[in-house]
């Protein structure tokens, strides 16, 4: 990785090793869905970061969309029996 060279040149107060960076990058790769990056592939740091940003943005969008759907449903549903049903489904 080209980033490796510049990192070792920089003297940071917290001694970050290249291994740590690689390790963290692979952990990050692990939480990304397979569709974005094949887990075992060695990809560039920039690519991992790019896919990560993309993934977070899509998750934020999903939260927004689901929030809207919930908002619509809340208006029309009887909440007390809804809560019981939801809790039941969550526990199963």
């Amino acid at each position: 990785m080209s980033s490796r060279r510049s990192r070792s040149r920089q003297s940071s107060s917290s001694r970050i090793t290249d291994e740590q960076i690689i390790d963290l990058m692979s952990k990050l790769q692990a939480v990304l869905p397979e569709a974005r990056l094949a887990r075992n592939d060695r990809v560039s740091a920039a690519r991992v970061l790019q896919e990560t940003c993309s993934h977070i943005r899509s998750l934020h969008r999903e939260v927004d969309d689901l929030g809207e759907r919930l908002s619509e449903l809340l208006a029309t549903t009887d909440i007390s029996s809804a809560q019981a049903a939801v809790i039941r489904s969550l526990l199963m």
Binding site: S2, S3, S6, R7, Q10, S11, S12, S13, S14, I16, Q20, I21, L24, M25, K27, L28, A30, V31, L32, A45, A46, L49, Q50, T52, C53, H55, I56, R57, L59, H60, E62, V63, D64, L66, G67, E68, R69, L70, S71, E72, L73, L74, A75, T76, T77, D78, I79, S81, A82, Q83, A85, V86, I87, R88, S89, L90
Partner: protein
């Protein structure tokens, strides 16, 4: 009484990950119930949606508690009365010394804007916090899908 302050250590195991689904579900469902109860007739969908979205991020932050930098940043943001727009746009100088060149830097900057509290993090911390934040987001999405599914079933 700020009920959000009550720490719920849903992690019985020593799992450092913040995705405690029971704690998250508890917070979120309670918030939803509160929103439902306090929704006045004729109040806009947009306003309710905003409250629900806020509740989603609050339940995420509460389930992670103060264990994580991102959750602490989220909690701070949620509790402050006047949200400061654009507060975390630029990373601070200290963080820059551990960042990477050019293309990585651009992406790292973008990431800092996306992760709560990302602006002030060291590069390594940013990576670790990001992974945890994503895990927590996944859990929150799962939870919301379950609730939508549950409520949807009822309306049918």
């Amino acid at each position: 009484m700020d009920s959000k302050r009550r720490p719920i250590h849903g992690g019985i195991s020593r799992n450092p990950n913040s995705t405690s689904k029971p704690a998250m579900a508890f917070h979120f469902l309670r918030a939803l119930s509160h929103i439902r109860l306090t929704t006045r007739r004729g109040s806009s969908l947009a306003r309710r949606t905003l409250r629900i979205r806020r509740a989603a991020y609050a339940s995420m932050a509460c389930s992670a508690g103060t264990r994580r930098a991102w959750s602490r940043a989220l909690l701070r943001k949620l509790r402050s009365p006047a949200p400061r727009r654009g507060a975390s746009v630029l990373p601070r100088r200290a963080a820059r010394t551990t960042s990477s060149p050019d293309t990585d830097l651009r992406q790292a900057l973008a990431l800092r804007r996306l992760v709560p509290g990302g602006a002030a993090m060291e590069h390594c911390e940013l990576l670790e916090e990001t992974a945890d934040y994503i895990r927590c987001l996944n859990a929150q999405v799962w939870l919301m899908q379950a609730v939508v599914h549950g409520l949807g079933d009822l309306s049918n």
